[in-house]
């Protein structure tokens, strides 16, 4: 089983990838997913979602989760 990691907008460009999969054993929280998936520090204003619901960096993750990172939103 794996965790699917997605990046959007400016964060996708900075990280250099739209999505990837990591081993579900590698991370217990959203913050650890970021550390496993990227080689940089998370920008302070980053928004996070697990399975398409907003969460905080300390939120636990499980095998099969979809974890997303993105910058502040600018729709409307």
């Amino acid at each position: 089983m794996t965790i699917t990691v997605k990046f959007f907008a400016s964060l996708r460009e900075e990280v250099g990838m739209a999505d990837l999969h990591i081993d579900g054993e590698c991370a217990e929280t959203v913050a650890e997913v970021w550390q496993t998936a990227t080689d940089r520090a998370m920008p302070a204003n980053t928004l996070m979602a697990v399975n398409q619901e907003y969460v905080d960096a300390g939120h636990p993750v499980r095998d099969g989760d979809e974890v997303a990172f993105f910058p502040p939103v600018t729709g409307g």
Partner: protein, 141 residues
Amino acid sequence: MIVRLLAEPFDPWQTVQAHQREHLAPGSYGATALFVGTMRDFNQGDTVRGMTLEHYPGMTERYLEDISRQAAARWDILDSLICHRVGPLRPDDPIVLVAVWSAHRAAAFDASRWLMEELKSRAPFWKKEVTAAGERWVENT
């Protein structure tokens, strides 16, 4: 209660008329509050030639459906409609339509304003605009 993401330009006025015909009984509503957001050709002092709207497929729809349900629970409204563009846009293109129907004006005004503010602050959309100097992500202000 309908949420639609649109990849092609749309006419918000025709969309509202069609929605009323299909979903609202004549005589049932006394108030219709509309907000339409339209793409400007200027931002932060620069001429803007075009824009691309990125979104998070799946989460964006879920988020808009979630706030629509919250609005229906919080205010005495009959129906709501949210349409939002994605993909490439040009100046003067409508970006977003929020419409709310109710018996009396207060619920329609209040629910539509709340929906629009929630959409602006939390719905996962990102604007990238094209200026003479190139492309840039729009900053959240």
